[in-house]
Structures are given as C-alpha cells and as structure tokens.
C-alpha cells in the first residue's frame, strides 16, 4: 500500500461531495445554452389507440411556439426505431419477435404516456401550452393490461400472435422433470413479482445542441452510459454519425437502471435541435417519470422444488411470464432471461434445473432493468420456495440451506444453468448473519412480541448474483448487441499528476473517489494528484457505462491494466535514466528502483522525462499515457445472506421491519464506507419492493400509482438501522479481486423480508407489497 489513508481499502471521503453539499453539482437541468428553446411532449392519454389525425393548427398559434414535430416528421427524416439490444433465441431456435418502436408513435399508441409529438417553444410554459393545444383524433382500442391473460387477449402488434415476444428456456427439462417425479417432497409456489417504478430523484432530461457551421451535435443527457447512448443514436436511430455526435452525461441524479436505456425524448431533442437551429431542452416532470421511464420487475411465476428424504434439493422447475410492456426496451429482453434464469441455482448444488420464460407485450410502459435486474426476481423465486420447503418439512430454514450449499471445495462450480461460479464461501456469510441477528434469541423475541399483540417473524435469503456481464464473445453469442468490456486510460501529465479516463459512469457510486484510489495505489501517485474523468464521449474514448454492478470489477480492472502499461513503459524510461538494464528495474510505491545500486527515480521524474526527453531511450515514443480495454473472462459472483425480522401489529396488519442484517461477499473492497452506502441503498429499495412499492395499472391501462402520493417509496422513518457486514473471497479472475456491490442490497432483502412476513403470519404466500390491509385480511382468516 502506497498510502494507508487514501489507497485501496481506505474509507476516503468522496471528492464528489464538496460540490453536492454546496449546491455546485451540475445536473442536466442546471445547464443552459444561449438561445435555448424548450420541448414538451404530447403523450397518449390512452393505453391503446389508433391515431386518426393530429391537428396542430391551434398549437402553432400559441404565443411562443416555434415548431411542432410529429412521428410522421421523424419518419420522413429517416430516423430509425429504438432498438432492443439483446436478441433472445426462442426454444425452437428462432429469434424473438420484436415490434417496431418508433421514438415518436405514428399510427398506434400502445401505452399511456407514449409520446407522439413534441412542441418546441420559447419557454417551458409555452411549450406546455402548445402541447395541450395539439388536437388528436384517437380511435380507442381494447388495451391488454393483465399479464396473466395477455396471451389470450387482443393482439397488440401486427405479426406477434399471443402478444408473445419470446418463449425461452434454459436447463434440462426431461432431467428436471424426472428428478421432480422421483422427489420425496415437492414444494410448489405461485409468485408475483410486483412492478416497480424507478423514480430516480433527478427526472430524466436532455439538452440538444447543433452547430450549423460544423455539423456537430452535442447531447447533454441523464445517462448511465453516454457511449452506448451515442452508439444507439448513430448506428440505429441514425440521428447523426458517431464522430459528429458528442454525448455528455454530467452529474446524474440516480439511475437504478432507468437511465441505461435510450429513450424517445433525448432522441427527439437532439434531432429537433437541428430542425429548429437552436438548442432544445427538455426536463421530465414527475408525472412523465412515472409514465415514461422504463419500469422494473413484473413477473408471474410458478415454481416447484423437489427434495429427497434428507432434504437435498434434487430438482427445480420454474415457469415465468414476464411483462415486457408495450415495446422491448434496450435490455428488456435480457433481464427476464439471461439475467434471471441463469441465477436460479443460487448458492445451492441443485443438480437439475429447468426454467422457461414467456416474454409478453402489454399496453403498459416498457419494462427493463431496475436495480438488480433479473437477479432479484431469481432470488425471490428461489429463496421463497426454499424457505417454504423448510417450513413444509419442519426444518430449520438456515440448516436446510446450509446442507444444500455449494462448498468452498466445489469451486469452480458449474451450475446446471450455464454459469460457472469462480469462488465463494456461502456458509461464512450465513454464519456471520445468524450471529448478527442473534438467531438463538429469536424464539424469546417472538414470545415477547406475542405478549404485546404483535406477531414476529424471521426470514432468510441467501442470494447470489452475477455481475460484470462477460465475456464479450459469449455475451454476443447469447444475443448481446455490444461487447461488455470497459475502457480505462491513464495519462500521466508532464508535471507528474494523472488524468484518468473511464468508460464507466458515476451517478451515486463515487467513482471519482474509488477510481482515484485505485490509480493512486497502483502508481504511487498522491490521491489528490489523480483526476477521474467520465461521462463525456468527447473526452473518454469509449465505454459501456454503469449497470449490473460492473464498474469496479470491469472498469476498475481496465485501469489496473492501463497502470501496468504505464509501469512497463516507465521502467524503460527509468532504466535509461539510471543507466541500467530494464530487467533490473523494479517498481514500488511510486518509485522505480535499482536494487543493486540503491538508486531510484520517482514516477513523476519519469513522467517529466517522457515529455521532456532530454535523456531518453532512442527506440521509445515520448509521452506517458496508456489505455486498456478489459474484457472479463467470467462474471463475478457476489453472494451473501440477508436476514429480516418483522413485527406485525395484529390489530392493523401493519408490518414493522425491526431488523435487517446483510452480510455480503463483494470480494476485495476499495472504499468500505462507499460500499456500505451502496448496500444501504440497495436494502432500502429491496425493502421498498417488499413492503411499500407497487406500480398499478387499472383495467383501462391508466397508471393508478402515478405520483409520490400513491406510489410509496421508503423515507427515512420507514427503515431501521441496517446491520451490514462483509466476508471476503477475492474474485479469481480480475486484477482487483473485486466483485461489485451496487445491487446486492436489492437482491437479497426483498425475499428475506417476505419470508419474515409469511413466517409471522404462518401463510405460504402473500403478494408484494405486504401492505397493512393485505396482512390484516390474512390475520382475519381470509
């Protein structure tokens, strides 16, 4: 360690925070351009309708309105559809069926809030007035809203019978069915994974600028992955060629998945900027966030777990219908398949697993990745059915899990659902969590609660996740439209400080701090001398952004590789400066050393020499700037145990989460307090799903929970103090030994809380969220 206070493993204070706590953060809506105009979208009030006519004449007369653009205008300009970035192969080997998704609807609208025109005006107010004045003749059609009956309902998209985008499977069906047939016991469960609405605190926004003189486009937008945004906008939508389009994602106020995707709004804004010849700005209001941000989860599942006499899992069969919404969002197809079915082995040695997933279209907002993306759904299915099996068999839920866990000696472990786990110690996390919650003391606590008219329950979830989707070639074979590597670049400047470029994007994760710690540690440069640049395609060469808890394991590893290249070149320069052989020069703590003579030169001196090559190797290029693309060899597999304890008020049905323990194995940790914060956040969202949050549509496809008054997100007083701890098995295949921590909290906690609620109530299931009225109805015997 070059510096114990700022290097790897230190809870360095976040350098982002000074600007956030003084109000100097720069989010998209904080940016303005001279001559800027404002866009407002005209959105469908119906879940499903045909557009017969759009009359913009009144709207054009609204003072301040400059231009009104419709889907037809966009089509006339030759803009392409919003693509789905992952081609899922169906059971029969055919490609999934994708409905065209024009950024602005032309003939049909398929969900409430779908944009079909935009109004550009001198002010936000005028744009909104204009949008209200657009007169549209709709012919209403019957909407398909109910997921369970979507296949039997009217066909939403031409050429897509049964509203089915795909029928996908993974695993060995005959073997699994045979295992279940021979099982001593089968536990069956029907589960619903409730729809969630991401609601990042910063609403999505876009500011498009077009320079007529050069033909350059610049799009400032709320994105988790600006390079991917640019790629999609240039390669698929074809707004502008890639080399003429710069995408900047400045400070971004939370994403949780919802800002991965390329949406209609920023597409329209950058296109409109060229049409209007002035910058165009759009900022969503909260209603638009509710209606038009991609939602999360929304599965209906039947699961069967077979166990032998001793309690060993012999087979797991899962049948899921996943709601994809009205269109396939960028990764909407992959979330309920490759990020879901592959995780169903969990931490267990279940030898036979089979999963089939029907992805269906409905007249609701598109559904895509939301914190955890597929993995919380998989964990929910598996950990609910395992807990239920323990109850049915009268087994201790911790013991039943323990006897089925993959053991440290089993790694690398090939699961029946494609993944190969590299390392883990699942019992270590379980033991630590049992201790933290005081499992031994639970029976006494349960009795104490009973005496106060409260029912107490405890619930477990031993989860696994797969992060840092990889490797690229495999992902592409499985249908991914892009590679899944990350770029990192380190430029040592002549004065010896460093500018670091990463293709990852930070919107709450603290990369500006963590990545500086890595480079400082790697190169022995003071932490304060390392600057991290991200979120700008004009500055960072390429990148794939931040999602799937990948930034550290993939993006951080790329920086380690770039650091190795810096050191390698530095050794040659240092050898020249010390008149020694390269082989004799070693590198440690920012110094190139010649052991034999006790001579050394600092990396700063080497950097200076690289740019002012007065004495320099003849065959070496000047400069000291290196970049690397890191393509992971495998996923990383964070895992852990979450245990929840709840108390239920028997009179009202109110559920009080009294304790939540999370013991996670994220591999090596760079900044413990940042990790702790990430876990807290994930837990809050996981608890929110279990107890509070539900995106509800009525039969007409109107979003009933369209405001924060009706969609309940956790507030400070909804949550207990979390008990958070870690165990460590370093990832075996990346240079940091890191696995990723961003999503874990949201993956394990939901199942743990629901297992606790059902334990307290003594029922098999209860649909999420466990609201007080639902619980009350169970308590009174319904």
């Amino acid at each position: 360690m070059s510096n114990a206070d700022t290097g790897i493993g230190a809870s360095v204070k976040r350098r982002e925070d000074l600007r956030f706590i003084t109000g100097e953060g720069t989010y998209t809506d904080d940016l303005n351009q001279p001559g800027q105009t404002y866009a407002a979208f005209v959105r469908s009030p119906y879940a499903r309708a045909r557009i017969d006519a759009i009359d913009v004449s009144d709207a054009l007369n609204v003072d301040g309105v400059i231009m009104i653009l419709t889907g037809a205008d966009m089509a006339a300009d030759g803009l392409g559809d919003l693509p789905c970035g992952w081609m899922v192969k169906q059971k029969d080997g055919s490609d999934m069926v994708t409905a065209p998704h024009p950024p602005l609807a032309t003939e049909l609208v398929n969900y409430v809030g779908e944009p079909y025109a935009l109004v550009i005006a001198d002010s936000r107010h005028a744009a909104r007035q204009g949008a209200e004045a657009v007169m549209t003749d709709f012919h209403e059609l019957n909407p398909v809203v109910n997921l369970a009956s979507a296949a039997q309902s009217e066909q939403i998209h031409a050429g897509i019978p049964d509203n089915r985008a795909y029928d996908w499977e993974l695993g060995d069906k005959p073997a699994t069915e045979a295992a279940l047939a021979g099982a001593a016991h089968i536990t069956r469960l029907d589960l619903i994974n409730n729809r969630l609405i991401p609601n990042a605190m910063e609403p999505r926004a876009a500011l498009g600028v077009y320079e007529k003189g050069t033909g350059d486009y610049t799009l400032y937008t709320t994105s988790q992955n600006p390079h991917l945004e640019r790629l999609v906008l240039s390669a698929f939508v074809q707004v502008a060629p890639e080399h003429k389009l710069r995408v900047v994602a400045p400070d971004v106020g939370g994403g949780f998945g919802s800002k991965i995707f390329v949406y209609a709004e920023e597409t329209a804004v950058i296109w409109a900027a060229a049409k209007v010849g002035r910058p165009v700005k759009w900022v969503a209001d909260r209603s638009e966030s509710f209606l038009a941000d991609a939602h999360g989860r929304d599965h209906v599942t039947h699961v069967e777990l077979g166990l032998d006499q001793s309690g060993r899992f012999v087979g797991l069969k899962v049948q899921t219908t996943a709601n994809l919404g009205a269109y396939l969002s960028l990764f909407g197809s992959a979330v309920p398949t490759y990020l879901y079915g592959t995780l169903l082995a969990g931490q267990y040695r279940t030898p036979n697993i089979y999963v089939e997933v029907q992805g269906v279209y409905t007249n609701t907002s598109p559904v895509d990745a939301y914190r955890g993306a597929g993995r919380p759904e998989a964990t929910y299915v598996l950990e609910r059915v395992v807990e239920t099996a323990a109850r049915e068999l009268g087994r201790d839920p911790a013991d039943l899990r323990r006897m089925n866990m993959i053991q440290p000696g089993d790694f690398p472990y090939q699961t029946p659902v494609a993944l190969v786990y590299d390392i883990g110690d699942y019992e270590a996390s379980l033991d630590r969590a049992l201790e933290a919650i005081d499992y031994q003391g639970f029976p006494a606590r349960r009795i104490a609660s009973k005496d106060q008219g409260k029912r107490r329950g405890i619930g477990f979830a031993c989860y696994i996740e797969a992060c840092g989707l990889a490797p690229s070639q495999l992902a592409i074979q499985l249908g991914a439209g892009v590679g899944l590597y990350e770029s990192g670049e380190i430029r040592l400047n002549p004065t010896g400080n460093a500018t670091v470029f990463t293709g990852s994007h930070s919107h709450g994760q603290g990369h500006e701090t963590t990545f500086a710690q890595i480079v400082s540690d790697k190169l022995g440069i003071p932490f304060d001398d390392v600057e991290v640049v991200h979120g700008d395609t004009g500055r960072v060469e390429f990148g794939l952004g931040t999602y799937g808890s990948r930034s550290l394991a993939v993006g951080g590893s790329a920086l380690m590789m770039a650091g190795d290249k810096i050191i390698a070149k530095g050794r040659r320069i240092a050898a020249h400066l010390m008149q020694a052989s390269v082989d004799d020069v070693s590198f440690e703590d920012g110094k190139f050393l010649l052991a034999a003579s006790n001579q050394s030169v600092t990396i700063q001196e080497v950097a200076f020499a690289a740019y002012v090559p007065t004495s320099y190797p003849e065959d070496l290029e000047p400069g000291l700037s290196e970049k690397a693309f890191y393509d992971p060899k495998n996923f990383t597999y964070p895992a852990g145990t979450h245990i929840a304890e709840v108390e239920i008020d028997e009179a009202t049905g109110e559920v009080d989460l009294v304790a939540l323990v999370a013991v996670d194995d994220f591999g090596e940790i760079i900044n413990p307090m940042i990790v702790e914060g990430q876990v807290h956040g994930g837990l809050a969202q996981g608890v929110g799903q279990a107890l509070l949050e539900h995106g509800i549509y009525d039969e007409q496809g109107q979003l009933v929970t369209g405001s924060l008054m009706d969609y309940c997100m956790p507030r400070a007083d909804n949550l207990p103090d979390f008990i958070v701890d870690t165990t460590i098995t370093p990832c075996t295949h990346n240079p940091l030994g890191a696995k990723g921590c961003g999503e874990a909290g949201a993956i394990g906690s939901t199942a743990a809380v629901m297992n606790a609620v059902t334990d307290a109530l003594g029922v098999k299931d209860l649909s999420m969220p466990a609201t007080s009225e639902k619980v009350w109805r169970i308590l009174k015997g319904e």
Binding site: A651, T652, L708, D710, C712, T771, R777
Partner: protein, 266 residues
Amino acid sequence: MYPFKYHRPTSLEEAASLYNGSDDPVYLSGGMTLIPTMKQRLAAPADVIDLSGIESLTGISVKGDKLTIGAFTTHAAVMASADVRKHIPVLAYLAAQIGDAQVRNRGTIGGSVANSDPSADYPAAIVSLGTTIHCQNRSIDGTEFFKDLFETALEPGEIITSIEFSMPTRAAYRKFPNPASRYAVVGVLVADFGGSIRVGVTGAGPCACRASGMEKVLNDNLKPAAIDAVEVPDAGFNSDLHASAEYRAHLVKVMAKRAVAAMLEG
C-alpha cells in the same frame, strides 16, 4: 401553472373586495394543496388572493375556557404553542402528526379546514372539540361545518378568520397514516368534556364526522373494550388504493380503542 393575478391584501375587507371583483378568484392560505393543484393544471383561477398579509389571521390566544387559533396559523405553530400544549395538548399532538416538517411549516389550520380533504387530520378535532369556526361575518358550529368531500358550509368568498376550541378535560388522537402521503387513512380523536365523551373521525368517510354510536357506548363505559360492541358500517366510506371501506371501518375501531386507551393513560 396558468397565468393569474396575484394579490396580497392586508385586511379582510380588501380580500373580500378583491374576491368579489374577480370572475374566478381563489384564496391562497398555506398553498400545500392549491399550488400543486394549479401546477397540474387542475385549477386555473384568474386571481389568487394570498391571505398571508392579513396579520389578524395569525396567532393563538386563550380567553376563559376557550382557545382560539387564527386561521393562518401554521401546523408547526400549533404544535409548538405553549398555550395549546397547556390547554389542549391533543391539538399539539395532532398537528405534529400532519405530513412532514415542511408541510407543517407551511400548511395552515384554516387552509386545511376550509379544504375539507377527507384525509386531513384537523377535521377530526373540529368536529369533536366543541369548536366554532369564525368567518368575516358569521360563525359556524364545528359539527355543522363539513358537508361532503371537499365541501364545507363556507359560502363563496367567505374566509375562515379563526377557530375557537373548547378545552376538554382530557383527549387523545390516534391516526393510521397513509404510508405514501402521510395523510390519515383513518384518524380518531376522543375527548372527554367533564364526563361527556365526543369522538371525531377523519379519513373514513367523505368528510369528518362525529361517531355518535361510539360516544354513546363510551359515555356508559369509558374503556377501550367498550368499542368492541360498536358496529361501524362501512357504507359510504372511502375506498381507494390504500384502504378499502371495510378496512377503514375496522381501523376506525382500532384507532378509537387506542385513542381511548391513550386518553385514559393520560
């Protein structure tokens, strides 16, 4: 928001005259409901008459056995008032349960009462604490004030100037909050006026009301368990995403029992 004219009168007379002179006026009190409503373009008044400049509308005073709160007094001021805490502590408690700190700093008792939101907290106190609603030119009995969902006995142009409360011997309020909005799914205030029990319920029906059946039972037997014998039919109760009418009816009893228990515990 649609454009409107903004007025900040300094007297009630000026406010009334502005009101009468407008085609489509609205009074602005705290604005916790009105401003969001206008932003969503669900209301588009021509004239917004801000009452915050009328000093006589703010303040808390005690005269004899009555406590009077000016209509423009914020929830936070009620919560913190030494007079309220001394004479009608249940009112300070109730005010502390409203929304969150920002809402309590802005929302006013008059605005809340005049709005007659079915899930607001104050109405439970208005119907049960022997109140008189004072307007510019008349006074209205608190039990006669709420008429229906967002409907009150106020005539167009009338402004609540103050609310006069009787002082119960003892009282307690219990509320089951909506987890998202923090409004009352159900709120029950039980007050003992020298042996005479009054029960005010908010959240359950279209507007706050007294629960005479409960009062009768409690007058005979002032114990939480006495509530068990009361039938609370859910006919006409609110039913929404957060609670069915049936569940609300159940919660009325639970909150009533808890309020009685709290009152007896002092």
